[in-house]
Amino acid sequence: MPTKKDALQFEGKTNVDTSDESRSELLRQLVAHLRENRTQLRQEWARRITEAKLLTAMSQDEIFAEATTIYDNYVDALQSGTFEALQTYARDLSERIIPRGVETHEVIGIVLLLRDVLARSLFAKYQHDFALLNRILDAYEPAANRIANTVAVSFVQERERTIRQQQEAIRELSTPVLQVRDRLLILPIIGVIDPQRARQLTEQLLRGIRTNRAKLVVIDITGVAAMDSNVANNLVQTVEASRLLGASVIVTGLSPEIAQTLVTIGVDLSKMNTVGDLQGGIEEAERFLGYKVVPVGEAAIEDQRR
């Protein structure tokens, strides 16, 4: 029931909080209420999530299990006013659900739904006393907003981290430096070469030359669709840098279009050894290194017959 003091306060200043003490007292009351109605509110929330068709990637049971944990974390955060535990949990949760294709709007959606469900239950509980409801909401809203914020930011951060990681992985994968013979490396280039990739490619190749003690490198650009003067210059630089480390370079697989472009734009390719295809490049390299490939077994017999 509204006391006299409450009514006075309400008259004096509508929704400005009185003091820290009463705010923490209100929060305590609030948390007690949320704990009391835990099962019911949690079910209500899970129902609303399903109704709103959020988290469709997860099963009913999973949603309920996660909802329970989020609910408890949520109430804990409300009670303690510290968000570290919630943040850790949100990151953890994001890590689990991102691979399953959960979108940002879904995560923000469910947090806002929980906020709504809880606020509604507060309305229902305190509807008889508008002043008290007002103050309860004063205590609840900032904390709830911060929680929603924390969860959303954690999710987005985790997502960005995943994306960065994947980009890194793709970049690493995109330029493998392979050893095919002692002191002979192959560097197949596939796709578009931008300056950043060219730089990374060169660095990786130079490192490869050093660790494998390579004397020869075959760079295969069959998979490069187009080449402009920048890319060509990058390639020339790569060749020069390899030479400074004592390794010669053979470039293979220049398509007719690329050859034409290079001649048209007048790139100086005099320092580059070029061979038609990868096979020719490897054969040339083997000759240079003093290898000789001789057919044995059935291949040898067939070779003789010819």
Partner: protein, 120 residues
């Protein structure tokens, strides 16, 4: 800092152990050209493994050194250029054209011996 020049058979080996001033570099330059004649050397190896910078002056000095050594009847191999150094040099357009390079000292010696065998 003075760079020690070691004689190893027909070859001279100069290992640069720390960043050199321009004056030190010139001193090394003269000393090597001098010694090639005195020791009747066939090859010179300059090991720059310890250097993490090769600027334009150093590159130019090394290049003129190599050319002078060639005029004195020997070949020069520069070895041990670090990957990062190579990358920067190429970007600056310092490519040591016409000079043999090798991965490390061992490779450099092998390269010199190979060219000697070819001559014989």
């Amino acid at each position: 800092m003075e760079v020690p020049i070691l004689k190893q058979g027909d070859y001279l080996i100069a290992t640069i152990q720390a960043a050199l001033t321009d004056a030190d570099l010139l001193k090394l330059h003269y000393a090597l050209v001098e010694k090639v004649g005195k020791q009747r050397s066939k090859g010179v190896i300059i090991d720059v493994t310890a250097l993490d910078v090769l600027d334009s002056f150093a590159t130019r000095t090394l290049r003129s050194l190599a050319h002078m050594v060639r005029l004195r009847g020997a070949t020069t191999v520069i070895c041990g250029i670090q990957p990062e150094v190579a990358f920067t040099m190429v970007q600056l357009g310092l490519t040591l054209e016409g000079i043999s390079t090798a991965l490390d000292l061992e490779e450099g010696l092998a390269l010199l011996m190979l060219s000697k065998r070819r001559e014989v």
